[in-house]
Subunit: 165 residues, 2 copies
């Protein structure tokens, strides 16, 4: 099983954006710089988060990105689905309908048990991701991370955020 | 999130192999034919299942594959890990240690909360996969699938299985 590495970048960016004040934004270049990532690599994932309703982008010279809704209503599942798409990890190609065992459609009124079992496990995974909110992660970071890390993050956001005109 | 399509083929093959009698084996060519898959594609996944202790391969002209242990002690998780490897789907590249927020090692005594949350969700996924045994899937198939499908599968295995000399 594999998650694209964009997921990690996306969660870190969303977490950093919780530090913005009011309706300020942070430009993609600053998000890339803070995480030492290439801006073009990051842009793709930021755009997916915009399409997924997690981020808002403000265009223009004072533009950038900010959360589209409160961190309390953004979950890890929202971010994973925005970046990775909502298709299940297990893709059933209906092998049972192929080869010498294949029968006419009337033999397949019930879905394949293998597919059901795999999707049930994914459902549980998604529920676990949905149980963690961005606000939980940020609170934990603020409470438990080394205070110097918190200070660095806050100072960076303060210095680089832009107030829309 | 993505699972390789080898997982589906691997589960179907393992399920078919439960139909073997005694210490008989089924050649890779028969497994490929039954699922309408290319033998070379399938071989890779069969070999991974052998390495993972799920299948046994018997070499020689009367050789083939059989389960290495009872279907009651093979779970979906065993098959997924054998085919996909055991690395977590979420790979933390420790973004927090990069860029202008980076500090010396003393700032990172606790693991990253994002990594912890992602791995916790995966743990739940793995537990769900581990809760389904190959024998459960086969029993459900025998009980609930169209009887013609069951007959086709059994007849194919009966005709193509080989008794080791």
């Amino acid at each position: 099983m594999k998650l694209g590495d964009g997921v990690e970048a996306a969660i870190h960016c969303a977490a950093l954006l919780t530090g913005l004040q009011g309706d300020a934004t942070l430009p993609a270049a600053a998000l890339a710089e803070y995480h030492d990532l290439s801006p073009s690599y990051l842009l793709k994932h930021l755009q997916r988060m915009v399409s997924g309703g997690i981020l808002e982008s403000v265009s223009g010279p004072s533009g950038g990105y900010r959360l589209a809704r409160p961190a309390e209503s953004i979950t890890l599942l929202d971010i994973v689905l925005a970046v990775e798409g909502s298709a299940p990890a297990f893709r059933c190609s209906d092998l049972r309908k192929r080869g010498p065992g294949a029968l006419d459609a009337s033999a397949y009124l019930k879905p394949c048990g293998i597919n059901i079992a795999m999707l049930k496990a994914e459902q549980v995974y998604r529920q676990a991701l949905a149980a963690t909110r961005l606000s939980d992660l940020v609170k934990e970071f603020l409470d438990e991370a080394d205070p110097r890390s918190v200070d660095r993050g806050c100072a960076f956001v303060d210095a680089r955020q832009r107030q829309p005109r």
